[in-house]
Symmetry: C2
C-alpha cells in the first residue's frame, strides 16, 4: 500500500504488519555488518521514520549499505509496532531502491550547520529539521490567517504590487521600469521621459496595500490583504528584509476599540491554530530554538491584552527604576528596550499602546480631540516588541486634507483616496501585521532571513 | 441589536419583530409623500435589504427623504417578515441617521455604467452589483484554493517576487532598481555598474515561482505557491495583464498522470466551493453576465476530463470539417479557435492535451521516449480555452543540461536548480494556474481588467 509518513503517524495501528511503500529522502544512515538503519523523511511530516534492513531479509543488501545521506529512495517493507521503544514503530524493509543519489558534495550532511551557511544553500535548507519546521509553520500560519478572516466573511483583496502612488509614506521604494537604461528617453528639458516607460509614468513597488484596502472596506465593510510589500532601505538588521509579506485588514463602521478586539482575536486564533496543527514543529522550537516558547504562547492565549496610552506608557518608563540607553520622552517613539520593559517587566503580557503623538505617525490616522494625539495603536508582545501597528483612519475630509498638506502628501496622486471621504465616508480602522515578524515570534527563530524561503536584503538576491 | 445584512439573510426568522441596528450604503432611494424606500447594502452580503420609512413612525422624516445614493447611514428599525412578497422581509425604520453623504458628483449612480467607465473609478466600482460579485468570488475562490491544498497538507511557499534569474523564460521582465537614473554609475568600459544597485546586480520581477517551488517540493514533497507574477509585455488583450496572481503546485515522486489527477481535483473543488459559498453572486452572473454559466460549471463538476495527445488533437482538427483561420499543423501550438473546437464541439468537456512538441515548450519539461515530445499538459475548458499548463519536470541531469544548452538557458544563474537533480532528485511534476483566467471562467466576466481590483496594463497604472 502506497503511504506517506504523515499518514502512518496519524494512526500507525491501522497499518500494523502490512506491506507498505514509501518514498523519501535519507536523513541519516548507519549500517552494521548484517543490518542497518535508515532515517527516512518524505516531506509530508516533521518526523522521520526508521527503516531497518537486514542482510537475510532484504534484496541486494550490499547496495543498500552504500546509500548516502540526501539520496531519494523507495522502500517496500512491513510496518512493525515497537511499543516498548522510544520510536513506537519502524519499517522492516524488504526492498530499498535508489531513486536519485547524492554524493559527498551534498551540502546538508547530518551534522550541525550554521544558519549563515544554510542561507547560502537556501534551495536545500528546507531539508533540515530547523527549516522544515520553520517553513511548514509559515504555511500553516498563513492558512490560519486566511481561515480566521474568511470564517468571518472578510473579503480577501489583492491590492496592487506595482504602484504609481509615492505618497504612501511608509518607506523607500524600488523603481519598476522597462526603459533601456543605456538609452534613456529624455524630454526637451533633459529630464527622463517616463511617458515612454511601460506604464507611461514612474512606477514603484508597493510599501503598503492599506490605501487600496480602505477603498474596498468602504464597499465590503470587512476586508483583508495578504501579499508582498517592499522596502528599499539599506538596513542590515535581524528584522528587516527588502521583500516581506503583510496582512492588512480594514474594517468599516468601526473604531480603534473594534480594531484592538480584532487584533487580539486574530493573534490568539493563529497562535492556537499553529500550536494544534504544527505540534511536532512547535515542540522542536521549544526544545532547540527558544526554551519556554510553548509557555510564552500558551500564556498569550490565556492573557487579556493590556491597554495603555502612549503618554501613560512613557510615564511608566520615566518612573521605572531602570537606566535605559534611550531616555524615554513624551512625544517620542518607543525604543526596543522600552517595549521589552513594558511587556516583560511591567505588564507581563501583550499590551496595546494607544493614542500616539501625531507628529510621529502617518497622515491618515485619526486626530483625537486633544488635537495632539492620533487614534493609533501598536501591539507589543513579550519577546518580540512591536508585532502589529494600526489606527482608526481620519474619515473627516477637512482634517485629512489639512494633515496631507502639513505632511506634504501629494494630493494629485491620492485624490481617489480622498474620494472615500467624499462619497459615503464612515469611521473605519485597520492594521498591518508583518507576517515574518509574527513568524519570528511564533518560532523563536530570530533572523528574518531564516523565516523567508529566499530572502532579499541589500546586496543579497540569491536564487 | 447590532446586525449585518449577511446575518439577517442567514436566518431572518431569528430577528422577527426585533429592533435591530444596521450600517451601510444607500444603493437606491425612492421617496413618496408620506413614506419612502431605501435599498441598503452593507458590504457583508451581495443582496440589499429594503428599509421602509414612514412620516408618522420615523423621527425627522424630511431629512431622510433627502438622503442620496452612495451615502452611508445607520438605520434603527424593526425587522418585519413579509412572506407574501418577493422580498420576504424588510426593515420598518424608526430612525435613519446620515453618517457620510455623497453629493450629485458621486460617480456610481443607480443606472447602467459601462465597464470602461467603471475602470476609471476602480476605487468605487466594488460598490456596484457586478463588481461586488466579482471581488467576493475572487476572495472565496482564493480561499478555496488554499483550503484544497492545505486539507491535503501541501506546504504553501512564498517564492520570491524580486529575482536575479532571467532564465525563467516565461516572458519579458520588469527591471527593479534603486539606481539614480539621472546619474547611472558606469564601469570603466562604459556599461552600467549594477554592482552599485540595491542588490548588487540586475534584478527583475518574477515571471514564475516554479523553479523555487521545485526546490521546496524536493523537501516537502507537495507544495504550492500563490502569489503575484509579472509580464512586461506590451499586449493589450482581454486576457493579458502586467501583474496577475498565479498558483503553482509542485508534487514530488509524481508523474504527469498524478499531475492531471491533481489539476482535475483542484478545479472541481474550487468550482464546487464557489457555487456553494457565493450562491447569490453566481446566480447574478448566470442571469446578467453569461447565460448558462451555472449549467457550464455544473457540467464540469460532473464530467470526467478527457485526455488527448497533442498529435491526436491536431489530427482531430485536420479531419474536422471546419475552416479554421489558423491552419492546424503537427508540431505547432493550438490557436484559440482550435481549443474552442476541441472542448466545445469535439469532446464537449474539459480536455487535457498532453505530449507536446518539445520545440514549443520550456526547457524544464521532461523529454518523452520518442525524443520529440515532452510530458507537458494543458487543460482546455469549454468557454475559456487554456486554463492550466503543466508538465512533468526533467529530473535526469544530463538531459536537463543538454536542453538548457540547446535553449540558451544560462547555467550560472540556475546551477542551484540543477542541484535539485544532483542531490536526491526524483520524478516530479507541477502546473501553473493563472488565477484571473480562472476567475474569467468562473464569472463569465470577459476582460481581465474587470477581475483584478486595480489592474495594471501597458500605460495604465491608476490608483
Amino acid at each position: 500500500m502506497q503511504l506517506t509518513i504523515r499518514k502512518i503517524y496519524e494512526d500507525p495501528k491501522l497499518y500494523k504488519d502490512q506491506e507498505i511503500i514509501l518514498q523519501g529522502w535519507i536523513r541519516n544512515h548507519r549500517d552494521q555488518k548484517d543490518f542497518g538503519f535508515i532515517n527516512l523523511n518524505d516531506g509530508t511530516f516533521f518526523e522521520t521514520i526508521q527503516v531497518v534492513y537486514e542482510r537475510e531479509n532484504t534484496d541486494d543488501f550490499e547496495a543498500i549499505t552504500k546509500l548516502t545521506v540526501g539520496s531519494s529512495i523507495e522502500v517496500v517493507g512491513r510496518l512493525e509496532l515497537t511499543p516498548e521503544r522510544s520510536q513506537p514503530f519502524e519499517i522492516k524493509a524488504k526492498k530499498v531502491t535508489l531513486i536519485g543519489g547524492a554524493d559527498e558534495t551534498y551540502p546538508i550532511q547530518p551534522k550541525r550547520h550554521t544558519r549563515e551557511f544554510l542561507r547560502e544553500v537556501a534551495h536545500l535548507r528546507p531539508r533540515t529539521n530547523l527549516f522544515s519546521a520553520v517553513f511548514r509553520v509559515r504555511s500553516i500560519a498563513a492558512y490560519a490567517i486566511h481561515k480566521f478572516f474568511q470564517e468571518q466573511h472578510f473579503v480577501y483583496v489583492h491590492t496592487p504590487i506595482i504602484t504609481a502612488n509615492d505618497g504612501e509614506g511608509a518607506g523607500e521604494m524600488f523603481k519598476v521600469t522597462t526603459l533601456n537604461m543605456d538609452k534613456l528617453p529624455r524630454k526637451e528639458d533633459g529630464t527622463i521621459d517616463y511617458s515612454k516607460d511601460f506604464f507611461g509614468k514612474e512606477a514603484n513597488l508597493t510599501v503598503t496595500g492599506q490605501l487600496e484596502g480602505e477603498a474596498y472596506a468602504m464597499a465590503f465593510r470587512n476586508i483583508y490583504t495578504f501579499g508582498p510589500t517592499f522596502r528599499a532601505e539599506n538596513s542590515n538588521t535581524m528584522t528587516h528584509a527588502s521583500e516581506f509579506w503583510m496582512i492588512e485588514p480594514e474594517i468599516a463602521f468601526a473604531d480603534i476599540f473594534d480594531n484592538m478586539a480584532l487584533i487580539e482575536d486574530m493573534v490568539k486564533y493563529v497562535v492556537a491554530y499553529v500550536l494544534k496543527e504544527a505540534k511536532e514543529e512547535m515542540e522542536f522550537f521549544d526544545k532547540f530554538v527558544e526554551k519556554g516558547l510553548l509557555q510564552k504562547l500558551n500564556d498569550l492565549l490565556h492573557s487579556k491584552f493590556n491597554r495603555v496610552t502612549h503618554e501613560d506608557a512613557i510615564n511608566i518608563l520615566l518612573n521605572a527604576n531602570v537606566k535605559f540607553e534611550n531616555k524615554p520622552a513624551q512625544g517620542r517613539d518607543l525604543a526596543k528596550e522600552h517595549e521589552k520593559f513594558l511587556t516583560e517587566k511591567h505588564f507581563k503580557s501583550p499590551v496595546f499602546v494607544t493614542d500616539w503623538p501625531k507628529d510621529i505617525k502617518a497622515f491618515y490616522m485619526r486626530l483625537n480631540d486633544d488635537g495632539k494625539t492620533v487614534a493609533a495603536v501598536d501591539l507589543l508582545v513579550p519577546g518580540s516588541g512591536e508585532l502589529v501597528g494600526g489606527s482608526q483612519r481620519e474619515e473627516r475630509i477637512d482634517l485629512l486634507l489639512k494633515r496631507m498638506e502639513e505632511m506634504h502628501v501629494p494630493l494629485h496622486d491620492l485624490d481617489w483616496y480622498v474620494d472615500l471621504r467624499r462619497y459615503g465616508g464612515a469611521k473605519h480602522a485597520g492594521f498591518g501585521l508583518g507576517f515574518e515578524r509574527f513568524l519570528i515570534y511564533l518560532t523563536g527563530v530570530e533572523n528574518i532571513r531564516d523565516v523567508i524561503p529566499f530572502p532579499r536584503t541589500p546586496k543579497n538576491i540569491l536564487f
